[in-house]
Symmetry: C2
Subunit: 281 residues, 2 copies
């Protein structure tokens, strides 16, 4: 059982990981080896102390280098649920299950609301992580709901596995290309299926599919329903503790301002609070 499971590899999650490492805690950092699409896509960052005017790409490179220097590995995955365990929590990430005494939520802001059938069919055809679950759809037909341009590389990855990809791009200027990718004009309304995904319904029609990938940031309260969320943000105290003992949060998921410096600071505080919480136990 890990001392802590950090969910999310944006600046907050990385900050928490660096500090837990300094505090000699054993932890799991779950997210993407690409770290955060949002960070990498920032054009120019000018107000992050210590890094004069740099691009998101450069910032991402610096963070990657730092994780490498500190021997911190990223476990590819996107959490789909958090459940109580004896002395801690289980975290489900698609097919995988991890166990931690504490959790730090640093999953960013949810940009797209869940659609009908999505939550019910998670793990039964609905997935949030191309890198984790893509291989399960080798030669199959899938739909991909892509919330942001930064996720396009995941669509392309999925097109390497699936024989056919129906793409719902929820943003302008989608530039994904691929012989087996068909763009659908319309908003997905419902994921259908009895115990397993069978189709996606949208304005204008219905498509039979074996799976649906939702490429978007997760909502924290859908991960753990008892978590107190106000106006879309996880409620925390100054110590980054949530209303659930053992669950902490940091970064954009705790609310505005959506800023890298804030995320770095909150990740740091959350790690110290996890440490204090474990020391007390």
């Amino acid at each position: 059982m890990y001392d802590c499971i950090i969910l999310g590899t944006g600046v907050a999650g990385i900050s928490a990981a660096l500090t837990l490492k300094a505090l000699k805690r054993n932890f799991l950092l779950v997210g993407s080896r690409e770290l955060s699409a949002k960070v990498a896509s920032a054009e120019k960052i000018k107000n992050y102390p210590g890094l004069p005017s740099l691009s998101g790409r450069e910032f991402k490179a610096a963070l990657s280098k730092q994780l490498e220097e500190e021997n911190i590995e990223v476990t590819e995955g996107r959490a789909t649920g958090i459940y109580d365990a004896d002395g801690g929590f289980f975290v489900a990430c698609g097919q995988d299950m991890y166990e931690g005494k504490t959790i730090i939520l640093s999953t960013g802001v949810e940009t797209v609301k869940p659609i009908e059938g999505e939550k019910e069919l998670v793990g039964r055809g609905v997935s949030y992580c191309a890198t984790c679950d893509g291989f399960l759809y080798k030669g199959k037909t899938i739909a991909v709901v892509c919330a942001a341009k930064e996720e396009e590389h995941e669509v392309e990855l999925l097109a390497k596995y699936a024989s056919k990809v129906y793409l719902f791009a929820l943003y302008k200027n989608c530039s994904v290309k691929g012989k087996n990718i068909q763009k659908i004009v319309g908003i997905p309304k419902r994921i259908k299926g009895e115990g397993k995904v069978s189709a996606v319904e949208y304005q204008g029609g219905e498509i039979a599919v074996d799976g649906v990938f939702m490429l978007k940031d997760a909502a924290c309260d859908s991960l753990y329903p008892a978590l107190k969320v106000e106006g879309g943000s996880v409620e925390v105290g100054r110590d980054m503790a949530t209303n659930v003992a053992g669950i902490f949060a940091a970064g954009d998921c705790t609310g505005r301002p959506y800023q890298y410096a804030k995320a770095a600071g909150e990740g740091n505080i959350a790690a110290h609070s996890v440490n204090a919480y474990l020391n007390k136990k």
Copy 2:
């Protein structure tokens, strides 16, 4: 009148300045062109996201470069008092007085408690800033209470003005040298004087002086007595607002953990809160 006066040039103050600049606010950053002695003296920083394993000196250099790139100037000074003004506050820094609609306190933690007579004689012989007030003691006799090795350069600066310097070093391995500097073994107990400093009393004796320099971080509640302070830390909400409307705080002065990432995050949040406060007004 400035939109905001930022007191302190540690990571929190610099973070606030960078963000107020991005928000196009006019502000004054008061502290030291040397930024923070504490930052510069850090041996190795490993958990500040984006800056893999660097020394405090390198961090300081990066922060200086960034201030320069953003055309942010540091006004040399150390606040000695904050007073209510029409639509804002007056900030006294030794002989100088500034006016701001809001204040961000980022003055660090007080490492040395005030001694008897100190507060009563501020501006009447007691000073906290060698760079600001040193010239007033040309050819005179002064006592200097130096709290940390990093302040030694200020002692040396004072010795260029004063004809005689009595030095109380409150740390080990003091290496200040100068023909006109005399180290006193003992802890200063009281600053004496009727309306003006006349002497310093210490275990073992008393010395007649024209002025006393206290080279140490200031306590926030001594700057503005109505400020709510708990256990030495300024009480703030998640938006970094204090109990006084228009006064915000960030960094070590708001409490543990004393970490650069936390300071950066809080400075950022404080700047956004100042902006929101001014927009509302």
